[in-house]
Amino acid sequence: MSTALIDLADVSLGYGGAPVLADISLAIHRGEFMALVGPNGAGKTTLLRGILGLVRVLGGRIDYNFDRSTSPPGYVPQRDTLDPIFPLSAIEVVLMGTYAKLPPLRPVRQRHRRLAAQCLEDVGLAALAKRQFWELSGGQKQRVLIARALAAEPDVLFLDEPTAGVDHQAEAVIIDLIGRLNRDRGLTAVLVSHHLGHIQSLVHSVVWVDDGHATKRSIDAVRSEEGVAGLFRARD
C-alpha cells in the first residue's frame, strides 16, 4: 500500500497541448522535504505548478491522498508574479491564506486574524505586521508569503524558488525556516531551486528536472561531481 501524499503516474505536463515534461512518475511522501532541481528553463516550475493543478495535465494521473478542500496545499509563488499595485499590509497578505478554508459568505473572524498573526510570528516578522508588503525587503516578502501559506494550515507546502533574488543572509534565514517547519511540524515541503546550495543538508530527496523528464535521485548522486556539474551545464 502506498503511503504517498501525492502520486504522479506517467504524467505529461505542458502548455497549449505541447508537452514540456513527459512520463513523470513520482511519489511525495508525508513529512518529506523534496527539492526539484535542474537548469534554468528545464521545467521545474512547470512540474510544481502541474502538481498544484495550475498547469494542464496532458496525460497520466495525479492522485492526492488527502482532502484538498479541508487541507489545501500551501503555495509560495515567485514573489515577482504579484502586482505591487495592491495596497496591502503584511498582515493582510497573510490573512489571505485563511481564505482557503473560508467559503463565500463566511466572514473573516477574530480567530482567523489570530492565526494570521501567529503565522507571521512563526516566520519572525510579527513586528512588521502593519508595514506595507511592498516596502519590505525581498527576504521579508518571501517570509510573509511563507506565513500566508502556513495560514492555510496545509499538510504540504509548495515553494517556487523562495530564495531567488535575495541576499545570502536572507537565503539562509528562509532555508532554515523551511527546514524547521519540515523537521518540527512534520510539514511536507516541495521546493523548486536551481541550485542545491543551502538546501542540500536539509532535503530528503532531490528530483532532477531536465530534457523534458523528471527523475528522483539520491542526494548523494546529486551531490556527486557529475550531478553538481550537470546543474550548471549550459542548455543548448
Partner: protein
C-alpha cells in the same frame, strides 16, 4: 454660499438629481478600484461607450417597433437599461475571453471595442428621428430627468452591488491579487470573474444612463487612482475612493449649479484637480521620506 444652502435644502428642486449624482460618484469608484487593481483602466473608457451603444440600440429598437419618441421614459427607460446592461456585460465577457486567449494586445482589444462602440452609437442614433437630441442627452447624461422612482431603482441596484462587493470582498481580492493561489485553494475563479463583471456591467449601465459615459468613466477611474497614491490598505483604498467620488460629485454638482456649467465635465474636472493635488502630495511625501537616506548616502 446662497446656492449651497439652496442645494442642501430639503425642498431643492433638483434634489433627486443631486442624490443620483452623488450615488454614481460614490458607487462607480468602488468597482473602479478593481479596474485599477486589475490594470484594466482603459476598459473603463471602452465600457461606458459600449453601454452608450446599448442605450442607442434600445432607442433604435423602440422607434422600430413602438414608433418615434420624445424623451426616454417608462418602458423605453427599461428597454434602455436592458440594452445598456446586455451590451456592457457581453463586451466585458468577450474581452475577458479574448484576454485569456491572449493573442492580441490589450490596447488592440480595447481600442477596437471603443471604436466599434462609438461607431455603433452614432449609426443607431442616425436611424432615429430624434437622434441628435438623444445623442446630446446620451453624452451629457440625463441626470436632471432623475425622478423619485428612478432614484429608488438606483438605490436598490447600487445597494445590492455595494452589498455584494462587501460580502464577497475576500473572494474578489484573492482572485484579483493572486489568481494561482485562488485556484490552488479550489476557488472558482471563473465564477468570481463573472460576478465582478456583472457588478461592473450593472454600475456602468446605470451610471451611463444617469450621468453619461464621460462622467461614468471619470468616476470609475479618477477617484481610485487618486486614493491609490495615498492608501496603504485595501479598506482605506476602497472606502477612500468611494468618499472622494461622492464628495467630488457633490462639489461638481454645486459648481455646475453655481456657475451654470454642464454637470459631467464639472465633476470630471474637479476629480482631476483633486488627482493633481494628491499626486503633488504623494510626490512631496516620497521626496521627504527619501531625503534622510539620500543625505546619509552623501555623508558616507
Amino acid at each position: 454660499m446662497n446656492e449651497l444652502l439652496q442645494i442642501l435644502s430639503p425642498n431643492f428642486l433638483l434634489r433627486d438629481a443631486l442624490f443620483a449624482s452623488v450615488l454614481v460618484g460614490t458607487v462607480c469608484p468602488l468597482v473602479g478600484v478593481y479596474f485599477v487593481l486589475r490594470r484594466m483602466i482603459f476598459l473603463g473608457v471602452a465600457l461606458p461607450q459600449v453601454s452608450a451603444a446599448g442605450i442607442a440600440s434600445s432607442f433604435f429598437v423602440y422607434q422600430l417597433f413602438a414608433g418615434p419618441h420624445q424623451q426616454m421614459q417608462g418602458s423605453e427607460h427599461v428597454l434602455a437599461m436592458i440594452g445598456s446592461f446586455s451590451f456592457t456585460l457581453a463586451a466585458t465577457l468577450l474581452l475577458a475571453l479574448l484576454e485569456r486567449r491572449g493573442r492580441e494586445t490589450v490596447e488592440a482589444r480595447i481600442g477596437t471595442t471603443y471604436a466599434v462602440a462609438a461607431a455603433a452609437t452614432i449609426l443607431f442614433l442616425a436611424k432615429d428621428p430624434h437622434g441628435d437630441a438623444q445623442m446630446v442627452n446620451l453624452l451629457k447624461g440625463d441626470i436632471l430627468a432623475t425622478t423619485a422612482a428612478s432614484l429608488n431603482w438606483m438605490l436598490a441596484i447600487f445597494g445590492a452591488i455595494v452589498l455584494m462587493l462587501f460580502v464577497f470582498r475576500k473572494e474578489l481580492l484573492l482572485v484579483s491579487f493572486d489568481r494561482d493561489l485562488a485556484v490552488v485553494f479550489g476557488k472558482r475563479v471563473g465564477l468570481w470573474d463573472v460576478v465582478l463583471y456583472l457588478m461592473i456591467g450593472g454600475v456602468i449601465s446605470l451610471g451611463v444612463m444617469t450621468a453619461g459615459p464621460m462622467a461614468t468613466f471619470g468616476f470609475l477611474v479618477v477617484p481610485a487612482v487618486t486614493v491609490r497614491m495615498l492608501a496603504g490598505r485595501m479598506l482605506t483604498f476602497m472606502v477612500g475612493s468611494a468618499l472622494v467620488g461622492g464628495a467630488t460629485a457633490f462639489a461638481g454638482f454645486y459648481c455646475a449649479y453655481r456657475f451654470d456649467l454642464p454637470l459631467g465635465p464639472a465633476e470630471v474636472a474637479l476629480s482631476s484637480a483633486l488627482l493633481l493635488v494628491a499626486w503633488l502630495f504623494a510626490s512631496v511625501r516620497r521626496a521627504l521620506l527619501a531625503w534622510p537616506s539620500r543625505s546619509g548616502e552623501d555623508m558616507r
